[in-house]
Assembly symmetry: C2
Homo-oligomer: 148 residues x 2
């Protein structure tokens, strides 16, 4: 399943706004992240596409982060995980397998999200917080590991 060209257009636009170019390598990164459907590590990114240099991949991930196209999250191990930002991948949460370390996406129903958003805003307000985003992390065993 390829990434929609509208996504590429939007990315190009964001990059242009920061005087950045949408190069072959950056396009490939967006493709890989968009296809994976879950946050992936740098080793996984490099494995998914030959021809990417590690240092340049890091540099480009950084640039894409700065223009709000990519988000970096911290996994259970030493590796950072990268995914398309919510504006491109949609709002979702994460399931972290404590056994194999994989991180999966989870989409919640609009109903639950609405209640969640409201309650979090309320709770945080008690401590003077202005909440801009919420992210839920569920830890446990993924289907594959729970079967063992």
């Amino acid at each position: 399943m390829a990434v929609a060209s509208s996504v590429h257009d939007a990315v190009r636009l964001r990059l242009a706004g920061a005087d950045q170019r949408y190069t072959t390598q950056r396009r490939r990164l967006v493709e890989i992240l968009g296809r994976s459907g879950r946050p992936i590590t740098m080793p996984e990114i490099l494995e998914a596409a030959t021809g990417l240099t590690q240092s340049s991949a890091y540099r480009n991930i950084t640039v894409l982060s700065e223009v709000g196209v990519v988000e970096r999250i911290a996994g259970p191990d030493d590796y950072g995980r990268f995914e398309l930002a919510e504006a491109f991948a949609g709002h979702h949460h994460h399931l972290v397998c404590e056994e194999c370390g994989t991180v999966e996406d989870l989409r919640a129903s609009p109903n639950l999200e609405r209640v969640l958003g409201e309650l979090t805003r309320l709770a945080a307000a008690e401590q003077g917080y202005v909440v801009t985003e919420h992210r839920l992390e569920l830890r446990g065993r993924c289907a594959a590991c729970a079967g063992n």
Copy 2:
């Protein structure tokens, strides 16, 4: 506010179960983490108590993690953050300030917890996960930074 001696007793017990000793330095770490009321970085830990060596502090944090007394979470920057595990600090969530990077604790209302429980059940059902724990991360501006 000092850490209750019952906590120290429980920690000593857990350590003893792994053939580990409850040394002065480990006790001091538990004190610091227990008093902070929020996850703190290694620099903050070392600043909070003179006489702690960095390498030993890391080693002891690792040991305390292994026996389930300390938990390590990833903050917005390069530093890991450490806190007492839920068994000692109670169930709570995190507020991450996008401006200053500080991480605060947030205790949720029963209402909010109920919604989280529902999301958890949903995840388990849809993707075959066995969820053991949930953690909510709210991003935004802390009271100090929102005032600016």
